[in-house]
């Protein structure tokens, strides 16, 4: 039995290997804020969101659509999804089952006893979950949820529940235990197998019939009442038989638990999406299910794309951007400081990742080609522990990236190679970007390096220039326009804005 809510054909692995640059992505795109919005205070929800987003880059388009459909169901029936999640959670963490398979002890009889108790509790929980499936099945249309609900109803029917109950009773072994064995090394018993003891005659009636019927050769032995060592030996032998049954049942309990845990993890992703949806809707931000384009293309176009993390951190709505960059390998973003360049790049990276995880995008509409990986090369605060200089450190990080990027990667450069003078930095940046462009690796490059940015003007159709806009009076709109780089970066403006009074004082002095 599989829940298969995130992939049509496999489990969601919370322990999946994350991209090697996961920590960089979390830091540069401020992903913790997104995970936090999805999780509330719940650590488990946080983890599910984290893994689903960071492993999302590997998803093919049909997995993305599979999740989009499931998520549409969730948005239409939020109460049912949350109730199902709670029922699974209660079955895992209820009073009789919360210790799971911990503290089983070392004795087969104790393991057996605990396992019987646990499976009984799990069966009760599964009955409730099945009830929810039955009640809601008509209201869900996605393949993910309708398959899950039909499966729960078919597999956990009344007949099956009775079979389980019968075994749980028989596993108490009130009638004695039958084991078979072969001779092993040193003529010790080997290959012990627990056998069904139905045929063993134990009552007086059976004894009588045995006495009267055809004689079968067998030998019987009774311990002396004071033979304590013998009693211990006998109970050891009993343990050998129980050992296998205890193992079978404990493993079953583990399987049931992992089925439930899997269902919980997969539901957790959707519950997280619902939480985020609630918050964005609450402040009137638009969301849209994005349209993934083939990985072979180098295209994206969107309307009203906003930085979801920035929006979550303030009360007002944030400014969205419109871009139509179909066929563009390289986007060079220049323009005013604090004009929204970095915010724009982050909003794009986030939307790309959310799309590939099967989520809605923070935009009125969003479409982009699939990328197999997102890499960031952001300028970093100088690390004290490092012996090399800033530029050396930047290049060593670039070198690590060079070993990772492939043709279908997206690379986000934020003020890269600027820790040396404009000329040298431009030279290195050009050398690197030229090679990546030749390999058709999609890049967004936010930069102040004028010589670098300007060198690409008129070079090819695969390059787009965006500029942080400013009005004639110098105020920033935080909206980007498609325009070639200007020589200055409006540092004066920024200076004036920050040091307004200072400037005035200077003037009046």
């Amino acid at each position: 039995m599989k829940a298969y809510l995130l992939y049509p054909d496999r489990d969601f692995d919370l322990g999946a290997e994350l991209p090697v640059n996961a920590d960089d992505l979390v830091q540069d795109l401020e992903l913790d804020m997104l995970f936090g919005a999805m999780a509330g205070e719940d650590k488990f929800l946080f983890e599910a969101a984290r893994v689903a987003l960071l492993t999302g880059m590997a998803n093919p388009a049909d997995t993305i659509r599979y999740r989009q459909d499931a998520l549409r169901d969730c948005i239409a029936n939020p109460g049912a999804v949350r109730e199902l999640y709670q029922a699974v959670l209660a079955t895992i963490t209820g009073r009789r089952s919360r210790d799971g398979l911990l503290y089983l002890g070392n004795y087969p009889s104790a393991i057996l006893h605990r396992s019987v108790d646990l499976v009984e509790a799990q069966m009760e929980g599964l009955k409730t979950i099945r009830g929810l499936a039955e009640a809601n099945r008509d209201r869900f249309r996605s393949r993910a949820f309708s398959t899950l609900f039909s499966m729960l109803m078919a597999e956990l029917d009344g007949e099956y529940m009775q079979t389980v109950a019968r075994h749980l009773a028989q596993l108490k072994f009130r009638e004695g235990i039958l084991v078979s064995a072969h001779l092993g090394p040193g003529n010790k018993g080997r290959d012990y197998v627990l056998r069904n003891a139905r045929e063993e005659k134990t009552g007086w009636l059976e004894k009588l019939s045995r006495f009267l019927g055809p004689k079968e050769e067998e030998y019987t032995f009774h311990l002396h009442p004071r033979d304590e060592a013998g009693a211990r030996a006998l109970s050891e032998l009993r343990d050998r038989g129980i050992n296998l049954a205890a193992n079978a049942l404990a493993q079953s309990a583990e399987h049931i638990l992992s089925f439930l845990t899997m269902m919980r993890a997969e539901l957790a992703f959707y519950v997280g999406c619902l939480n985020l949806h609630d918050r964005l809707q609450g402040k009137g931000e638009p969301v849209a299910f994005p349209e993934p384009l083939p990985a072979s293309e180098r295209s994206h176009h969107f309307k009203g794309l906003y930085d979801v993390c920035l929006s979550l951190s303030m009360d007002k709505r944030v400014v969205g951007n419109d871009v139509d960059a179909d066929g563009k390998v390289l986007t060079i973003v220049t323009g005013a400081n604090s004009g929204g360049k970095s915010t724009f790049m982050r909003s794009f990276g986030l939307a790309q990742m959310m799309m590939q995880a099967g989520m809605f995008a923070p935009a009125m509409s969003f479409s982009a080609n699939l990328c197999r990986a997102v890499y960031t090369h952001y300028k970093r605060e100088e690390d004290n522990s490092m012996t090399s200089g800033k530029f050396d450190e930047e290049l060593s990080r670039m070198s690590r990236l060079a070993d990772l990027v492939t043709g279908s990667s997206l690379v986000l450069f934020n003020e890269s190679f600027a820790s040396t003078n404009d000329r040298e930095g431009s030279e290195i940046a050009r050398m690197i970007v030229d090679v990546l462009r030749e390999k058709r690796i999609k890049m967004i490059f936010v930069t102040h390096l004028y010589a670098f940015a300007h060198a690409y003007v008129g070079v090819g159709d695969d390059i787009m220039f965006l500029r942080a806009e400013r009005e004639e009076d110098g105020t920033r709109t935080f909206k980007l326009i498609e325009a070639e780089p200007l020589r200055t970066s409006y540092g004066q403006d920024l200076y004036k804005a920050v040091f307004r009074e200072g400037v005035r004082e200077t003037q009046s002095a």
């Binding site: 393991i111 084991v179 078979s180 090394p185 063993e200 493993q251 992992s258 089925f259």
Partner: protein
């Protein structure tokens, strides 16, 4: 009780090494004649076509053509030079895990005759065939298991258990002996030693006595395997009867929950005590089982009484022990070959003092580095014509000491009849190797370091013969350059007069120009990066230095490099 004492003797003879000298088999006289002929041949190319070899003689030992020539081999102590050459480390790792075979004595015994070396080379070459080596290895594993089973049988007190362990021991022995014989009888072994052993083994296995033993074991095992019984535990007792096709209940439980299966679950089986000995309940059950199958258990008892203490054969036991000498070394070589180093069979001469090797390396250091996947640096050397002395100078930490060790190690290993670390090797069968390596200052020694050096050098020179090899490592460092030069030249003069083969590591490069007998070797550094050690020692003077590197190049971010790297 009588029955129980007898196997003890059997076990002792299995572990003892009495087989050498117990010449039950004819043919010793003939092989002695061949030996004298062999000793007369002073020089021998390591490889010879098998056709030229004498027909296999009666088998004596897989290590020696004539064991009597090396009476001390079993207990020989460590040669003095092993410590300086780090060969003590090599021997320790060669024999580790093989303590029960007591091989150290053999590794301490140099062969004195080139034909004795050839005898081992042939065997070693045979063992290079992976099929033979793996057969011998599994034979050894079985023999070790057999010894364990016998000890087990001896320790137990319950007869029905003893009988079973004894049967297992005999079964293991018969199986591995027959298997090895079968393999060796197919031919394919070319060495004198292996051919002789094969002939012996084939005879032994074909003997009626062995065949009968084997058949009995087989039948008993087959019959015991058919025993399948049930124990029904209820209340304070149990009932034993034959198995009557009762169904597997654990499987039924598993089946009921199969639909929840999610990959592999943990194993929840408790580790139940599994003593080899039985408690009285188990004994009682076994007794009932033996009553359910009285005929089989009757035959088992009879087998035990008649065969206890009659096997194994002494020669086979000794072979099992001695062949480990080759396997141990072959395993050790393989660890280094894995990282790309080569070994070769040296051409060994007791007369010709020209020696050479390509890509020779320190076997002790190589083993250490290879353990982490590293590869030691190898070096070439050659002494030809009148050349006798390698004078090694150059920067410190450049591999000079390692080089001098390599030279000594290779000669020691060659004298053991083993492949040596390096290619295209030609080595001298020495009488004694003398080493003088600088040691930690010994404060109980009042003579002072210089005097100590001189005393030791004097002792070496007075004991050395023209067949000796001398390795000097940084002596006379505790005096002035002038003194050191003077003393060194004096000592060098004596060495030349004795016509000794010598490696001399020194900071006095003038020593390399003392005459036609000396050859200069220099440790080197990487010209591009003087801080980096290359450990290369080459036959010439030191080379210059140069250094250049840019920061982009350092990170492989130039256009060409980047194109290569991306999307690889």
């Amino acid at each position: 009780m009588d029955q129980i004492r007898r196997p003890h003797e059997g076990v002792r003879s299995a572990q003892g090494r009495g087989a050498i000298g117990e010449t039950k088999y004819p043919g010793t006289a003939a092989s002695a004649a061949k030996r004298t002929e062999a000793t007369r041949r002073e020089e021998l190319e390591a490889v010879k076509a098998p056709a030229e070899r004498p027909a296999p003689s009666a088998f004596q030992s897989i290590l020696f053509q004539n064991p009597e020539k090396y009476p001390a081999a079993e207990t020989a102590g460590e040669p003095d030079c092993f410590g300086d050459l780090n060969l003590d480390q090599t021997m320790a790792s060669l024999t580790s895990g093989r303590d029960e075979y007591e091989l150290l004595g053999y590794f301490h015994t140099s062969l004195t005759d080139v034909d004795d070396i050839a005898y081992r080379h042939e065997i070693m070459r045979d063992l290079e065939g992976p099929a033979l080596a793996s057969r011998i290895r599994s034979f050894a594993e079985s023999m070790a298991a057999m010894r364990k089973h016998l000890v087990q049988a001896q320790k137990l007190h319950y007869r029905l258990q003893q009988e079973s362990w004894f049967l297992t021991a005999v079964d293991t022995y018969c199986g591995c002996v027959a298997e090895l014989s079968e393999f060796l009888s197919q031919g394919g072994v070319k060495s004198r030693g292996m051919q002789a052993f094969a002939a012996f083994l084939v005879d032994y296995v074909a003997s009626p006595r062995f065949q009968e033993l084997r058949n009995k074991v087989r039948t008993l095992n087959d019959d015991l395997a058919t025993v399948h019984y049930c124990v029904f535990l209820v209340g304070d007792g149990f009932r034993v009867h034959r198995y009557r096709d009762e169904t597997d209940y654990s499987a039924e439980v598993e089946e009921a929950f199969a639909k929840f299966r999610q990959g592999n679950a943990k194993d929840y089986r408790s580790k139940l005590n599994d003593w080899i000995e039985m408690n009285h309940v188990e004994e009682k059950i076994l007794e009932f089982v033996s009553q359910l199958w009285p005929e089989i258990f009757g035959r088992l008892a009879q087998f035990f009484q008649s065969e206890w203490g009659v096997f194994p054969d002494g020669k086979i036991v000794t072979f099992d022990r001695q062949v480990q000498f080759y396997l141990a070394y072959a395993e050790h070589m393989r660890r280094m070959e894995k990282v790309g180093l080569s070994f070769s069979y040296p051409v060994v001469s007791a007369k010709d003092k020209s020696v050479r090797a390509m890509d020779a390396f320190d076997i002790a250091l190589a083993a250490k580095l290879a353990a982490d996947g590293g590869r030691v640096v190898s070096n070439d050397f050659e002494l030809s014509g009148k050349e006798r002395i390698l004078v090694v100078s150059g920067p410190n930490q450049g591999g000079k000491t390692t080089f001098s060790r390599t030279f000594g190690q290779m000669h020691c290993l060659a004298s053991l009849g083993l492949p040596v670390p390096g290619r295209e090797t030609r080595l001298f069968l020495f009488g004694t190797i003398f080493t003088h390596f600088e040691r930690e200052e010994d404060i109980t020694n009042l003579r002072g370091k210089l005097q100590d050096d001189l005393v030791r050098v004097h002792e070496i020179l007075s004991r050395a013969t023209p067949r000796s090899i001398v390795i000097m490592n940084e002596i006379f460092t505790s005096t002035t350059l002038q003194d050191a030069t003077f003393l060194s030249e004096k000592v060098m003069d004596r060495i030349m007069k004795l016509d000794l083969i010598c490696v001399w590591v020194t900071f006095i490069h003038e020593l390399s120009r003392l005459g036609e007998k000396t050859v200069s070797m220099v440790s080197t550094v990487d010209p591009a990066n003087p801080d980096k050690r290359t450990y290369k020692v080459v036959r010439k003077e030191a080379s210059g230095r140069s250094y250049a590197m840019s920061i982009a190049e350092k990170y492989g971010l130039t256009e060409e490099r980047l194109k290569e790297r991306i999307g690889k």
